[in-house]
Symmetry: C2
């Protein structure tokens, strides 16, 4: 689905399909969620010459095309992941950094309420919760 839709989305805007763009999209799909640097490393295993600049520019493009989205997980760098069906909410452990996921539909009631009462339309595929995972949360009940 994604490779062909990339070509179509690009063509529809007069943009070009390049090897780099295909590789970068594929890397994001494969990695699940990854920082620009992780994408770069993955892409370089296949095509050594690809520059980090191209990673940044292409991730931004793919996001504009709606193929990927990014989230900020606690620390510095943003992480990118495929947009679409497999959306998920990240559960990030403050202690150990583990990243779990949950179904965004659990947010639907709240999202609907916010849309109704405040006019704010939450992007429920772009949410992270911080806290303590099961392992790290034991002991210091609070």
């Amino acid at each position: 689905m994604s490779e062909s839709s990339l070509a179509e989305l690009l063509r529809a805007r007069g943009l070009r399909l390049t090897a780099q763009r295909q590789l970068i999209l594929q890397a994001v799909l494969d990695l699940g969620h990854a920082t620009p640097e992780q994408v770069h490393n993955a892409v370089r295993e296949v095509a050594a010459g690809v520059n980090i600049t191209t990673i940044y520019r292409t991730l931004e493009l793919l996001e504009r095309l709606g193929l990927v989205t990014h989230t900020h997980l606690s620390h510095g760098s943003p992480t990118y992941h495929a947009a679409g069906e497999d959306q998920h909410v990240h559960l990030v452990c403050r202690e150990c950094g583990a990243i779990d996921e949950m179904d965004p539909e659990l947010l639907r009631p709240l999202a609907d309420q916010l849309a109704r009462e405040r006019g704010f339309r939450v992007d429920i595929g772009h949410v992270s919760f911080f806290g303590l995972c099961e392992r790290c949360g034991n002991g210091d009940q609070k």
Copy 2:
């Protein structure tokens, strides 16, 4: 409450109360939520010589002391805000960058569910939702 508790928390650890630390905490309390740079600007209005390095070091210290926490709002810089009573969830508009707030208690049912079913304890005072605010969301219903 906070000024005196700062002194106590510092003394309890053998650390020192300085003018900079008081000013930086006060700035965070006043600003609501602010990036290190915004804190720096606020502090400099009172004490011109304070260095940005001290802002970073002190914000980290205040966070360890439990007086402030930080959140990552879409773009780059983290924003710091006072920990404790006045917790709030940020509603960040992807378009215009406006930051609104909502009561974290609205998250309570979901947080309880996650704790029960997955053992993940969400820090509900440390949540940001991204999306479109009322003004920016009009027109492109999707």
